[in-house]
Amino acid sequence: MFLSLKGSLNTKFPRFKGILDTYAGASAAYSLRRLSRVASSVVRVRRASDNSEKDFSATDVSSGAMTDWVNTDVLTYESDFSSGTDGFVTTASPSLDGNIDSIGGRNDNLRLTSNAPLVTVNTYFRRNSILSVGNSYRVTFDAYIPSTNSVLDDFDTVAFGTSQVNVAGQITLDQWTSYDVTGTANNTALFIRLKGNSSGDATGDVVYIRNVQITQTTAHGFVETWYDQSGNGNDAVQDVAGSQPKIVDGGVLVVGGIDFDGVDDGLLTPSNFTDTLQSATFFAVTKDDTTSGVAAMVRIRPNGAPGTLDGFSWEKVTDDTYGPNTLIEGANGALSATIAGQGTRNTSKNLNTLIYQQSQILAYENGALDATLNTLRFGSAPVGDVTLVDQLWIGQNFDDNARPFNGTMSEVIIYFTDQSANREAIEANINNQYDIY
């Protein structure tokens, strides 16, 4: 009876079968889509608003759940003027003082005192380094302006950097008035600007604020781990926040995968690969933001001149998909692209396939053979055993990251076998997913 029910359920809900289940044996595989039955989480994300981190499945990414999590409202600042200005500053002419009591029945207020006759664009409360560029915020605060002022009688704008929101006309003099403003930051400083509707001398005029709260309502999301879906545990990680590629930009899911900034972003496996191989196949879906400069794509090779090391490296060069450092090196020699480079580099999304076959590397672009890389950098072909003794690097060449990739990556799948027989089918699967060609 039980078996019968199970069989019925399986008929209705067939087990998931991914590309890695159909074409088994991958050594490492990274994507934001689900590639295999064993895959659960595809990515671990850090949201910049509070540096929380969480693992997400492919469904979480595609359904928007991951983006929603990144955009969770986070209270990033709450003022405390009980002992000072709490980081608020102003320009030279007004002055700020904290811990001002008994204003409209409330204590611990921040006071701005005008020391000049004129109210200008520089008459403001300012908090530096409190916003993240490109993200949205809600700012709330309470304000009090006494009717005894000569000139200062209103607030003008709340500015998220230079992006200003008009708040004029909301104040009620001699009462605490609550403000609630939303905006998107184009700089890191928050300004609360004042204005005066009367002519006269503003010297000695005072304005009070309290209970300033800044809530971040969108955020950047960064990739801390791109999980290996091959089942081999070769997760690519980046534990340095400043070098993590982006997956959510200002609250919006990055189009085209994971965005490497071309400055210092990259992912790597914490442990070395220790395989010995005679052939290999690499699939990578990438989109360059620029066609100039050298861009490290995928690498399992220490730093050093050909003839001294074993490993694999794929680097693009200006206007060419394969440069002289697109090479595979083993016991007998090293194969690479010509010095002038081969293939055509562009800013479209491309599927590149490299198949290493001892005496040549077949380089495909969008399903068509683009180049045969058979320049001998040293030694002789066939290259022989390639003994891997380094970490896998994605988007950077090695620790110094002198040639970072600038663009997005959607998928990287690596086999330490010749997948010529399956290449077209695997490429068709990838193309069906990404609609590249």
């Binding site: 981190e53 534990d239 926040a241 090479l327 060449n397």
Partner: protein
Amino acid sequence: MYLIYTTEEAACERADEEGKAIGYTYWTEGKGTRWLTKPVPTADGKWALDVSEYELDDIEEASVEDTYLPVEVSEDI
């Protein structure tokens, strides 16, 4: 802006201190992001830490350098 350290350990200690102060999950959950920036070796055998976005004390503020001498890359080509 960089702080220059004579040993990698000292540079990592400062990076750790900043990572803890920020509250990265490596320090709160034992997994995930550890550092804001990471020390890199210099050509004169020291270690440079990018502290552009660090909270520095007065002594550190007085010792920051605008640049450092990077290690020459002996890369493939």
